[in-house]
Amino acid sequence: AVQSAPVSTTSQAEIYLSQFGYLPASARNPASSGLQDKHTWVSAIEEFQNFAGLNVTGELDEETMKLMSLPRCGVRDRVGSSDTRSKR
């Protein structure tokens, strides 16, 4: 059976964060990967860590990549723009 690869590199993490709504969809395109500015990259990791209940470090650490490798639902965590939160 085909096994889905665990997340163990920065570019795999970039694809993951884009797939689930933390980075723009363009980041899933290998040709453009690595073109994130630092602030966007750190914010995306912080958002994922905050959502997943991890320590919010902004670093792509072991703990974070381990969680990214867990089986999960394919629907994005961040749906639409950030203002899907209530109006307030």
């Binding site: 089986p71 394919g74 629907v75 939160r85």
Partner: protein, 398 residues
């Protein structure tokens, strides 16, 4: 919880399984899928009827890799399934490269994943409550399944509470429906638009949001006040006085109210024992005459605010308040002293209220959020839905 923004206009929905998994018997799959839908009928008036052909609301398919919707599956592990929100059709797709199992710790449990995906089909997005069914990560086989309060609040915010006697096909403990209480109406007054300072704001156990002011309370919608409010506090919380200082609902489902040197505990609208008690008795280390209190989403601990200081209270620790407290409120970058209220709102953000303004706090950055219009914003406009009031305070936060 979080909502995607769309829902079905009807509550009696139909579904069909147009492609079955390779390794399970169809009759078993039919039963598990019915049980998974029934999870969402338990606390609402939603009903789900299986059809074998023709048009349905929700179509279910077990497919592998690229399957026509542009979102290819990835083989065993990784992505297990995905579903579309109502506005996008509501269908649910399951990766048939997974080892789908029923009632076994082996492989991937079909019932749990299906119940999650049908949450999306009904309009729910992912929750950051790790205990919720709508959390994105598969938690392994759970022999005893129980829908989390977070999930119940989410589905009821879209489809209302259960009112019919329709009993879902699965075996669940009958939900203990608290008798709904309709207190006498007090005519809506515009005073809160002229003076939007609140005594406290808190969420109830089932996710309703209440603002207290004097002897009255307002039940809030997503952007204003529900029809027919304010009402008298004493009518909905018998025994509770007016002019409450602070309030919060803890994960035990109980709501705690604080005033002066005393506090009260309620379960829904019922006082939960002999109250009031002294704050020093039930919350050792916490001062009297509080300004605000909340359960912070960042760590689930209870925070109390008074003057320029705050305390962190952890009931599971001895002592519940570390010696390093109180600490200065200035640690919460951008939040002012002498607050009126603090709230972890149902959209996941933390809010602080002072006078006629409020601040939205970014938990990850541990600072007041930056947005347009900037914070602080006028409470009247954004929380009470007051029409002819400004939506911004006209100056940038320093």
């Amino acid at each position: 919880y979080a909502l995607q923004g769309s829902r079905w206009r009807v509550k009696n929905l139909t579904y069909k399984i147009s492609k079955y998994p390779k390794r399970l018997k169809r009759v078993d799959v039919d039963a598990e899928i019915a049980r998974a839908f029934a999870v969402w009928s338990e606390d609402t008036d939603l009903t789900f009827t299986r059809k074998t052909s023709g048009p349905v609301h929700i179509e279910i398919k077990f497919v592998e890799s690229e399957h026509g919707d542009g979102d290819a599956f990835d083989g065993q592990g990784g992505t297990l399934a995905h579903a579309f929100f109502p506005v996008f059709g509501g269908d649910a797709h399951f990766d048939d490269a997974e080892l789908w199992t029923i009632g076994s710790p082996r492989g991937t449990n079909l019932f749990q994943v299906a119940a999650h995906e049908f949450g999306h089909s009904l309009g729910l997005s992912h929750s950051d409550q790790s205990s919720a069914l709508m959390a994105p990560f598969y938690r392994g086989f759970e022999p005893v399944f129980k829908l989390d309060e977070d999930d119940k609040a989410a589905i009821q915010s879209l489809y209302g509470r259960k009112t019919n006697q329709y009993t879902p096909t699965n075996v669940y403990p009958p939900s203990t429906q608290r008798p709904s209480y309709t207190p006498p109406k007090v005519p809506l007054d515009g005073s809160v638009c002229k003076d939007s300072k609140v005594d406290t704001i808190f969420n109830s156990e089932n996710g309703d949001t209440f603002a207290f002011k004097g002897d009255k309370y307002y039940k809030l919608t997503t952007d204003s006040v529900e029809e027919g409010y304010p009402k008298l506090i004493s009518k909905n919380w018998p025994g509770l006085p007016a002019n409450i200082d602070a309030a919060f609902t803890y994960k035990n489902g109980k709501t705690y109210f604080f005033k002066g040197t005393q506090y009260w505990r309620y379960h829904g609208s019922q006082m939960d024992g002999a109250y009031p008690k002294e704050i020093s008795e039930g919350f050792t280390g916490i001062p009297d005459h509080l300004d605000a209190a909340m359960v912070w989403g960042g760590n689930g601990k209870i925070y109390f605010f008074k003057g320029s200081k705050f305390w962190r209270f952890d009931p599971a620790k001895k002592p519940p308040v570390k010696a390093s407290y109180p600490k200065p409120i200035s640690n919460w970058e951008g939040v002012p002293n002498n607050l009126d209220a603090a709230l972890r709102y149902t959209n996941g953000y933390t809010y602080f209220f002072k006078g006629d303004k409020y601040y939205r706090f970014h938990d990850a950055r541990f600072a007041v959020d930056t947005a347009t219009p900037p914070f602080p914003r006028p409470t009247a406009h954004w929380w009470f839905g007051c029409k002819n009031t400004p939506s911004s305070t006209g100056f940038r936060r320093r």
